[in-house]
Symmetry: C3
Subunit: 155 residues, 3 copies
């Protein structure tokens, strides 16, 4: 089953691909790698899930925010390539949590994103290298920001 | 117009290329990519712009610090390659702001760097993928730190 | 002298390779690069060195934690490839310190890791590009987290 078929089967609804909030490209291709800029938990109505994790959001809400960030990344990839089937595999992800200083469950938060990628691209191609860390602050007080690198199918 | 010609036309003054403040190389080449280590807002007199953004520096001052960080990166590339014309394009940047926990305008800060890269390398080659985030602290209390990857012209 | 011989000569004891604490691969290979996920200062007994640097740990203790993080990365590489001699060189590292907001000596902390890499792989191949920065928080309150990219010897 392809990623696009999986998306349909899972009934996943992607938010509109985010417009860049600065001087950058959401997805930049170099060789067979797609460098994906930092994305946040963008909702259907084009607002972001905001707040500090460990204060304004609990673990479940933060994990949902990470999953939503993954959906925003899929939206950007789909816009860039026309189809998620252009993705060969997930290579690396950097998962950033807007967390209180005493928060410690960053991996569990970012799993919301990583489990989505595994669902869509499969256990073989949807699980890459990863870091999950806590930031001092994030743009617009977003709860989560994730950047990633994907391998793409050669033309 | 080449990047070096653009530098002259804009009258940009590069600081001295920073000496590494630890066990690392400022620029490491692998294949046709140049991995640039984290740079800070180095001034002509070899001191750094320091302070917390949102407390010691306002948005304009922080954006200037990000631009100055870009000039330091250009200085390191120029030292490494002899000429900025060895740069094919900007691939990715990770822009880190030494921000107060309630600061939210990280993209506007890092635009100071990104606009410089666009001026020097052009809208086609000078705009890459990017994240802009807030750190808990930075070395020597620098206001901004940026690491980047550039594609270089093959020999 | 090879990296494995160097390991023996230095009498370095690697901790057990850490099991992934989430949905990711500790080491992901793409082309001739090995992308190493964020690692922490894992000890022999499989616990981590924890605490805030600048409060719970001083510079020396934090530098030891960074070195220990390097040993954990070597353990993951050895598990992945069977031998460290599969490593061609260190390309880049992102060194993250769980530091108090007023901490400023991140490069000196991460040197604990970088000096280990230089000892094991040599001054030519063991020194790559690097950033050293301060995080708002880290998983399980680990003192240090480092992710890295290594070039590997082609098959």
């Amino acid at each position: 089953m392809t990623a696009e078929q999986k998306l349909t089967e899972l009934g996943l609804l992607l938010p509109p691909a985010p417009k860049p909030g600065g001087v950058y490209q959401p997805v930049l291709i170099h060789g067979n790698l797609a460098y994906v800029s930092g994305h946040g938990p963008l909702l259907e109505d084009q607002t972001y899930i905001t707040g500090r994790v460990g204060k304004d959001l609990d673990l479940d809400a933060a994990k949902d925010a990470a999953r939503q960030t993954g959906l925003a990344i899929l939206a950007s990839l789909q816009l860039k390539f026309g189809s998620l089937d252009k993705v060969e595999r997930l290579v690396k992800s950097f998962g950033m949590v807007n967390a209180e200083p005493d928060f410690s469950q960053h991996p569990q938060v970012i799993n919301g994103y990583s489990e989505l990628m595994r669902e869509v691209f499969g256990a073989e191609k949807g699980v890459g290298s990863r870091s999950a860390v806590g930031m001092g602050s994030l743009p617009g007080n977003m709860a989560v920001e994730i950047e990633a690198v994907f391998e793409i199918v050669p033309d």
